[in-house]
Symmetry: C3
Subunit: 109 residues, 3 copies
């Protein structure tokens, strides 16, 4: 048995949990924040059999991998412009870090 | 040394921590929620010696194992009845999942 | 690769994260509380290479180790004294517990 500890962005969590559940995988969510730069992440604990690890990693990758996204930079509004229309800016969103640990024993009570 | 990662129901946490402390075991509580169905759980980190793992697992089992409990289904109140008296319903409560991991090294500063 | 799970006091977290970042280490913060006596702690997940573990442990030790600190016991104010001046009391502060786990595999998406 393996324990996957996956740190993912908050914005991807619900889609990831849905995708995992569709394949029969359950996850425990831990509230977490990035140390400095990566605010708003969630840490998931997912217990899987050795032969399931590849599928779970591929589900995580499919949903959470770093990709381009558009955000409207509302915080940068220039107060002198009455007719400010934010131009969406392309940024990197998503990303996931997955640590896989060997489980010595697993109990369910 | 071993690290036990125990996911237990919120309702069982205080009794479990008391029982662990009585035997000299300390735990760190992580705020957690079930992925979908099992809301309101807590994840405990418990560092133990190899020879203590069985006792700790047995304490967790004794307090947290899945069992029958009665709940009053107040959310199902029929608005048309003035004299609604909820009938307690038997449900499964509790349950615990424990991952045991081998610790390469342990430091206390 | 190794995963360090460090439980540290809340008061030391920001200085620790700054010191880790200066050396290029990133950490994920999990909200945590001590079981009973050690309120206000934070659990950090830090992924490192084998050869970095000693340095990271030494950074944690340098910042978080148990030491003497002064606190003003404002909660013990005697209401009958108009001119109460709290005498700072020396207490133990800080402290850290670090579990080092071997990582089977590590993925970044
Ligand atoms: Ni978060
Ligand atoms: Ni909870
Ligand atoms: Ni805290």
């Amino acid at each position: 048995m393996l324990l996957l500890i996956a740190v993912v962005q908050d914005q991807d969590v619900n889609r990831l949990l849905t995708a995992l559940l569709e394949k029969g995988y359950r996850a425990t969510k831990l509230a977490s924040t990035g140390g400095f730069l990566r605010q708003g992440n969630t840490t998931l604990l997912i217990g899987v059999q050795e032969e399931q690890a590849e599928e779970v990693n591929s589900i995580i990758k499919g949903i959470c991998r770093t990709r381009k996204g558009l955000v409207s930079p509302m915080t940068a509004v220039d107060q002198t412009l009455n007719t400010y229309i934010p131009t969406p800016v392309e940024v990197e969103v998503g990303g996931a870090t997955v640590f896989t640990l060997k489980v010595e024993s697993f109990e369910k009570f």
